[in-house]
């Protein structure tokens, strides 16, 4: 049991995201009302619990906690309800919006997109991270990669690599000083997004090639929306669009589904899915 706990990267994510939140809180890097945070956690976990009851499985609260922490870090509102609603939509989408045996959208991502796109009660703050918090987020992300390089954390690297290449390429083409692309990359929301949102193995394709296409496509879409169409929330829309495209990528590069704690699928690795055992960490597709 202890081993499977460590093997599960979600534990690491919960610890580092909590640390980041605590650090940002004490350093006054961002304004988060403890009541709002509590509401997000409560809404995430209760939705998970309700959903688990409806499909008659044992609820696991690791995933909803990660979603809650991501939402707390990335979404803002004047009131409590928009954040609780975002959390409920995020977790609810895992149970309600499914294709085959996987949920379609990245939970925290769809929570943010739904609230930003369809209400005027919440907003994201892409620029509100000081260098210190950005650096802490980067360290946390790098730590995640080093610790779980065997799992599928190639997604953040492909995403950040393609995005950075585009941003630097733009600066070179325009003849701008490199301080400009560096400024754009020194963005806490971007790092959190890359390491803790788009990296979610449950909502990224299982095949290595499809996964690279997924991460690269999200980077390209985000870049186009932000730099060509001046859509400040392009990052989040890009991932939502790629999640819709994902079944197509998976069809082109099929691979067995990821279960929390699994090692990564090897490149071009098309192997038979292992039969589930009683001790499987994550036998329930809804998490």
């Amino acid at each position: 049991m202890a081993l499977s706990m460590i093997k599960d990267p979600r534990i690491y994510q919960i610890v580092t995201l909590s640390g980041l939140l605590a650090f940002g809180w004490t350093a006054h890097a961002f304004e988060i009302d403890p009541i709002q945070f509590a509401a997000i956690v409560l809404a995430s976990c209760s939705t998970q619990w309700l959903g688990s009851i409806l499909i008659a499985t044992r609820p696991d609260f690791k995933s909803p906690l990660i979603t809650a922490l991501s939402l707390t870090l990335l979404l803002r509102a004047d009131a409590v309800w928009p954040l609780a609603a975002a959390a409920a939509i995020a977790i609810g989408s895992k149970f309600a919006l499914r294709l085959g045996d996987k949920h379609i959208f990245n939970p925290a991502n769809i929570g943010i997109v739904a609230m930003v796109l369809f209400t005027d009660a919440a907003w994201t703050t892409p620029g509100q991270w000081g260098t210190a918090v950005w650096f802490a987020a980067l360290l946390a992300g790098a730590g995640l990669f080093v610790t779980y390089r065997s799992a599928r954390f190639d997604v953040p690297l492909v995403f950040l690599g393609v995005y950075a290449a585009l941003v630097f390429g733009r600066a070179l083409w325009l003849g701008d000083p490199l301080a400009i692309p560096l400024l754009r990359l020194e963005n806490g929301a971007l790092i959190i997004f890359a390491f803790f949102m788009i990296s979610d193995p449950k909502t990224s394709p299982d095949g290595a090639i499809a996964r690279a296409a997924f991460a690269g496509g999200a980077a390209l879409l985000a870049y186009l929306m932000i730099f060509n169409f001046y859509i400040a929330d392009g990052l989040f829309y890009a991932l939502a669009i790629m999640c819709l495209v994902r079944p197509l990528l998976e069809w082109a590069d099929p691979a067995p589904h990821y279960r929390w704690g699994d090692p990564v699928a090897p490149l071009r690795g098309i192997r038979k899915q292992k039969p589930l055992t009683k001790n499987s960490v994550h036998p329930v597709p809804a998490e």
Partner: protein, 462 residues
């Protein structure tokens, strides 16, 4: 006019434009506190931006000081502007917006600790002043890949809209027309040209200027539609000698505006500071601002005011009238509605969906390499820069509560001194000295010994 005339590319809202500032005078606007002639921030410029969807109206205060013949400005704009999209307005409106949103000092007087609390408050409001400008003739050239797309005379300005294919062509064109371009201009122009930017060149039409009868240049306004919500500051940083100050006033329908590529930070507010600051609120605010800029590694944009335009509390100036708002581009309010002269301290019944954000940026090329990119949030919570003076009760109160009150004062003064020292970086001992001189003493009040209070009367008799 002869080419030998030294023309100066100057920033009307120098943030937007300034390529050089070789004229003797330095651009200045910003705000004054207390007395109207106390200049607080040098090299400051003001710009108001109405933004609703893609609709944008930019009002740029013209703070040029110098010979009228020396004034000219180049503003990168996202679209070719027609004559009806360019307008000239009055300084007074921007001054009013400045005063309404300015950081404020309020004071309270402690009540007689033995009597009911009565509070008075006073808002001290900063005021703003504007300055002069001037310009000269230019001739258009073709062979450089520069097209003069349109030429208009609007108010006292002659305006040309330039399209360019090549930055060196545009730079040569500008130089041939007498502009002094600092190093690095071509690179920045090239970047703008590749992004499809057009250039708006304005200079003064001396005849029209004389006809206005004014001694200064009025703010230029442009209205356009573009998904780009930004303020071009890069040209202005090229030859700037030190930092420049920019005040950006955002008028929106939804809520607060913040920058997406720089951090937007709320300044400390609502703090109690020693009462002597009343005599020099200006230096206090300036020191505090500089301290905060340092604290954020000189890379932050500061929020000074974010409020629903319908009211204020306390009011540094009346909210803008509907006519004034319309003049600044707020097209969704009806004109001629309310009259100025009222001080609404609570939301008015007929709300005029206008939210104002005041941003203060102290910038240079090293710390602000990229233009300011903005985002309108849905945040409608109110924020204001507000600094509080609390006058101790000086009357002759005689009761236990009064004794306790007097005993508590030194601690309170010490805390005010420390707050001031933290905010401004001023020496704490100097602060304490100044406080002592102005009646905020740190000495514990003399207290009778406990036995005297216990047996006081008996002892006298005994």
């Amino acid at each position: 006019m002869s080419r030998s005339l030294k023309k100066t590319l100057f920033a009307a809202a120098s943030a937007i434009t300034a390529v050089t500032l070789t004229g003797g005078a330095v651009a200045f606007c910003g705000f004054y506190v207390g007395k109207a002639d106390t200049k607080l921030f040098n090299k400051a410029s003001k710009v108001a931006i109405m933004r609703d969807g893609n609709r944008t109206v930019m009002t740029m205060a013209n703070d040029f000081q110098g010979e009228l013949t020396e004034f000219a400005t180049v503003i990168p704009v996202p679209v070719v502007l027609q004559e009806e999209q360019i307008h000239v307005t009055e300084n007074a409106i921007l001054d009013h917006l400045d005063a309404y949103t300015a950081p404020r000092l309020v004071e309270y007087f402690d009540e007689d600790p033995c009597v009911m609390y009565q509070r008075r408050e006073m808002a001290m409001m900063p005021q703003a002043a504007m300055t002069l400008g001037s310009a000269d003739k230019m001739r258009k050239k073709d062979s450089l890949g520069v097209t003069v797309e349109a030429e208009y005379t609007v108010g006292e300005y002659d305006i040309q809209i330039l399209l360019a294919d090549q930055s060196d062509g545009l730079a040569t064109w500008l130089k041939q027309n007498g502009y002094k371009l600092p190093d690095g201009t071509e690179k920045v122009l090239a970047s703008y040209i590749k992004q499809g930017t057009k250039f708006f060149v304005a200079k003064v039409n001396l005849e029209e200027q004389t006809a206005t009868g004014l001694k200064y240049l009025r703010p230029l306004q442009i209205a356009f539609e573009s998904p780009k919500f930004m303020l071009p500051i890069r040209l202005g940083t090229l030859n700037a000698d030190g930092k420049q100050e920019l005040f950006a006033f955002m008028l929106t329908r939804t809520g607060r505006v913040e920058t997406t590529n720089y951090r937007t930070v709320k300044l400390p507010t609502g703090v109690d500071i020693p009462v002597y600051v009343k005599n020099d609120f200006g230096s206090f605010y300036k020191s505090m601002f500089e301290q905060q800029v340092e604290k954020e590694n000189e890379r932050a944009v500061f929020l000074e005011y974010a409020w629903d335009m319908n009211w204020c509390d306390p009011c540094a100036a009346d909210p803008l009238s509907q006519d004034e708002l319309r003049e600044l581009g707020v097209y969704w309010v009806g004109g001629g509605g309310d009259k100025p002269g009222i001080l609404p301290r609570r939301p008015m019944p007929q709300a005029r969906d206008v939210y104002v954000t005041r941003l203060h940026i102290s910038y240079d090329a090293d710390h602000f390499p990229e233009d300011l990119m903005f985002k309108e949030t849905n945040d409608r919570s109110n924020y204001q820069g507000r600094y509080v003076l609390r006058h101790a009760y000086k009357g002759d109160a005689q009761c236990d509560a009064a004794e306790q009150y007097r005993a508590s004062l030194p601690k309170r003064f010490e805390s005010e001194a420390q707050t001031l020292a933290n905010l401004t970086g001023w020496d704490i001992d100097d602060i304490r000295d100044d406080m002592n001189e102005t009646g905020q003493s740190f000495e514990e009040p003399k207290k009778d010994s406990w036995w005297k209070r216990l047996w006081g009367n008996d002892a006298k008799e005994g």
